[in-house]
């Protein structure tokens, strides 16, 4: 099991780090979150029951570690709601909810399909598809407005 974890770590480290950095909102926090996530997986490796893929199990831990890192940031303002606060957002991504952002990051940075994202976030594939479409639509509109 330890060997499988190491293999996965070495094979997909850039993807894990990029997604974690995007969720945590900081490159260094993302890097640290991945290290912590794998350390946690090593400690808890006997908890893995094999009901899903090992990679999905790891993704769940990485996403949780990145969320925790984001919440521990001094300027943390994580919210399930878009971060508009009545003002125009600084970045189009601020228009997305936390879940929408996570799904976008997992799909774009890690190239995970709907099923894999669903496993990683413990939601249904249908929810992934609908959420991703909504997020893209929002981003596209925001980008068009910025360009016009």
């Amino acid at each position: 099991m330890l060997d499988e974890l190491e293999t996965l770590y070495r094979a997909k480290l850039p993807e894990f780090r990029r997604v974690a950095a995007a969720i945590a909102g900081d490159r260094e926090l993302g890097r640290d979150a991945v290290q912590e996530a794998f350390a946690s997986a090593v400690r808890r490796r006997r908890d893995y029951r094999g009901s899903g893929t090992l990679e999905a199990w790891i993704w769940r831990i990485v996403v949780n570690a990145a969320r925790d890192a984001r919440r521990r940031r001094p300027d943390a303002s994580a919210s399930e709601e878009p971060a508009t606060n009545g003002h125009a957002p600084l970045l189009p991504l601020d228009l997305l909810t936390e879940r929408q952002r996570e799904i976008v990051f997992l799909h774009y940075y890690a190239d995970l399909d709907y099923a894999a994202i669903a496993d990683a976030l413990a939601i249904s594939s249908g929810t992934v598809g609908a959420t991703l479409n909504a997020a893209r639509r929002t981003l596209r509109q925001a980008l068009e407005e910025v360009q016009t």
Binding site: R10, L13, A39
Partner: protein, 190 residues
């Protein structure tokens, strides 16, 4: 700008090398260096493999020997045609009308002369005092015929011995057929 460009700008690609040892340190997991691990595994495997074998060699019973009643000045032997190792030792029985035998390395005894034919298994081995016997074969349960080594010793032994060259045969044995020089059945044992 499109979504892809936006996301590329948000978080650039990571190029830093992996640091698995840091993961293990954080996990509090200890891992033996690979070379030490291989060496340890090799020692364990060697101990497991050699230990029992050494124990058997040091403590094993050497098995039966030709009985003390055998006249060791007149020992006759049957050798394996393949390995040239001794399969059977036979010698006259001192003070008796009969012989002593040793089927290496499992069975030994002394028997008086009689008119019956005797077969033991395993390994498949037997004798007969019928001098007509010159060949024999075992038949397995699957119907296969396996030739037996047949040897007559004269003099004070004066008996014909037969044995299988393979130890697999007796487990599947159906019958033993002993024939004379014309191929006629002299004895059939089931």
């Amino acid at each position: 700008m499109n979504e892809a460009q936006l996301l590329d700008e948000l978080v650039g690609r990571f190029e830093e090398p992996a640091d698995w040892d840091d993961v293990l340190r954080r996990a509090g997991a200890r891992r033996l260096p690979r070379r030490r691990l291989v060496l340890t595994a090799a020692v364990v495997v060697a101990a497991l493999a050699v230990g029992p074998a050494l124990g058997v060699l040091l403590t094993r019973d050497r098995g039966p020997r030709l009985p003390s009643g055998a006249d060791r000045s007149r020992i006759a032997v049957v050798l394996s045609p393949v390995t040239r190792r001794v399969l059977l030792e036979v010698a006259p029985w001192k003070g008796h009308d009969g012989f002593c035998y040793l089927v290496v390395p499992v069975r030994a005894g002394c028997v008086p002369r009689a008119h019956n034919t005797v077969v033991f298994k395993p390994p498949l081995f037997g004798w007969s005092f019928d001098k007509r016997i010159v060949s024999g074969q075992a038949t397995t349960l699957s119907g296969a015929h396996v030739p037996l080594t047949v040897k007559h010793f004269g003099g004070r032994i004066d008996a014909t011995f037969f044995l299988a060259r393979s130890r697999l045969v007796p487990r599947l044995l159906h019958s033993v057929t002993l024939r004379d020089a014309r191929g006629r059945v002299v004895v059939r044992l089931r």
